[in-house]
Structure formats: structure tokens, C-alpha cells
């Protein structure tokens, strides 16, 4: 698959490595060129420095041919905007958006975005772990 990852923070960089290892064709976009140092020397994916919501940058990343896009910057609104551009203007078949605000996740899921909320996932994990701890006692 040809996959565009938007945002090369902890989540982005790890996602890139994992996908590259599986043999996917990965392009990663970030505003900060220093962020790519997190990718490690083994990574052979293409990197693009630029504002991810700029259509010129997205085109350079090959959005017209992409099979999937994951928006995982630390800016929820940026993720939402880039994802909608990918989905509604370029008809990328699979688009996944990270949003840390559960309420925003609800709203934009109902508007058709496929979202992942780290806050909800973490809360659920903690909740389960605490419950397990309680039953073990």
C-alpha cells in the first residue's frame, strides 16, 4: 500500500517504522525537519518538510495516488483539516485521524471521519487495569 503519514512525532515515527518493516510504501510529512531524526537510520521512507494542510505539500507527497493517509500530528485541528482534504477533495480510500479530544472525536466521527482518540484508549486501558487489580485483591 502507498501510505501518507502526517506528523512525525512519537506516534508518527513509530507507525512509519512498523509500516515500512511490513514492506509498505510510506511517505511522512512534518513541518519540522528535525523531527525526522526520530525515524532511525534503518528507515528508507520518503520525508517531506512542509505545512501538511498545504495542498502543494500533499500533492508532493503523492496524495492523488495514495491508498491511505493517517493524520497523527499533535494538533487535533490540523489532523481534522488534513483528513477532510484527503477524504473529500482527493478521495483517498482510507483516512484515519487522531484527535485527543473525545468530544471532538464524537462530532467528527458523526461527520464521517474515522478517528482514533488516544485519550479514550488510555482511559479505557487504565480503567481495565484498575478493575483487574481490584478483582485480584
Amino acid at each position: 500500500m502507498y501510505i501518507i503519514i502526517v506528523g512525525c512525532g512519537r506516534v508518527g515515527a513509530n507507525l512509519v517504522s512498523k509500516l515500512s518493516e511490513e514492506g509498505h510504501n510510506v511517505v511522512v510529512i512534518d513541518r519540522d525537519k528535525d523531527s525526522f531524526s526520530q525515524l532511525g537510520s534503518g528507515s528508507n521512507c520518503m520525508t517531506i518538510t512542509g505545512m501538511p494542510m498545504d495542498e502543494d505539500v500533499l500533492k508532493e507527497a503523492g496524495i492523488e495516488e495514495a491508498d491511505a493517509l493517517a493524520a497523527v500530528t499533535t494538533d487535533d485541528n490540523m489532523n481534522i483539516m488534513v483528513s477532510q482534504i484527503a477524504r473529500q477533495l482527493y478521495h483517498v480510500p482510507m483516512v484515519i485521524t487522531q484527535t485527543t479530544d473525545p468530544e471532538k472525536q464524537r462530532v467528527f466521527t458523526s461527520m464521517g471521519l474515522k478517528t482514533i482518540c488516544p485519550t479514550t484508549l488510555t482511559v479505557d486501558a487504565f480503567f481495565c487495569a484498575l478493575k483487574e487489580g481490584e478483582t485480584e485483591k
Partner: protein, 224 residues
Amino acid sequence: MKIMIIGGGNVGYYLTKSLSAELHHIMIVEEDCSRCKQIISELGSKRIEVTQGDGTDVECLREAGIFNTDVLIAVTGHDQNNLVACQLAKDYFGVKQTISRVKNPKNIRVFQKLGVDSVISSTESIAGIINQELDWTDVNKLLQERSPNVQLRKMVVELGSYSERRHLKDLGIPKGLILITVLRGDRAIIPSGDTCLESGDEVILMGGQKDIDQISRKFKVMQE
């Protein structure tokens, strides 16, 4: 009218000032606390409410009174925040009209496609003014002094636009508008109803702003 403004920077500040003078009720949302205090102390009145918070946060919008809002105007310095504020207002809270500023003029099309009612780019407005004024400064100055409503403009027939390969008589030129000449290559054609426009033609028009705006759409390729 009840108007909510997202972003209390320079644009938000002066917008609040001029809109509240017209007896509108303004609710302004700004993230920076000291900026909020400044707005309250300088513009504070019964018609202006200031809420400190993130204008793209559902809870904050609710607290700021979005349920009573007729129009939401997003003028923060970040295009992505303006888009999300408008979408939350329109799709989640049912605000009837949304207006947004964009910094990157390329985002005009994106915002329109994603449901924002009116999109304004100062970069593009200024670029437009420069384009239309540059060649015509003297003539326009003269027109402006004698007849402030009439303007002289040059437009290009775009490939695939309504006007391309169409006779002038079929163009629906408004009554108050005069088509002075069609520039093709190095020729200036004195137009008649049977003149057929080609892409790349430069058309020189004179008329009122409203008529010019109306006809200008026919020279451009419209985005669906």
C-alpha cells in the same frame, strides 16, 4: 444580530469594534487571558461578551453562548482552527451562517468545499486589487473622481469557462456593462454580438462593481 467571533487578535478586535457600533451583540472567544482583559477594558460594553478559551472546543463554545448565535466568524491566525470552529458551529450547533478568514489563499477552495459559507483571504484581496489596479491606475483614478461607481477592468477568458467559444450576444452581459474590446494575441478586436470568445482572450470591461462581479464568473472556471 448575535455574532460570535473566534479569535481576538487584530482582526477580531476591530471587527468587534465596528460590528458592535452597528448594535449587534458580539460574543468573542479568545485563548489568551491578557488579550481578553485588554479587549474588555478597551471595548467593554453591554453588547460585548468575552470568553477566554479555545474556540474549537465544544464545551468552550457552549459556554460562550453558541446556541444563540446567528453568525459565527472565525478569524484566528490558524486556518485549521478557523475551519474546525466553523464546522462545529454549523454541523454540531446548527449556526446558520459561518464566515472564515484564511491565511493561505489556496484554502479558499478547501473551506468552501468543506462547508464554510463565506471565505475571506486578505492575501488574495490585496493581490486582486494589485492586479486590477496596476495597468489602469490613471484611468481608474479619473473614473473614480468623476463617477465613483464605474470601474474599468481587464479579465481573461479561462479555458473551460462559460464564456469560452461563446458569442458575446449569448453571454448575458448586464445592461449597465460595456465590453470595450477583446485583446487576442497582438490584435484588439472591436466587439460585436457575433464576436466569439476564445480561451486566453483578454476582455476589457467598464461598469458597476455588481455587474462586473456577475460577469466575471463567466470568464472563470467555476469549482463545483
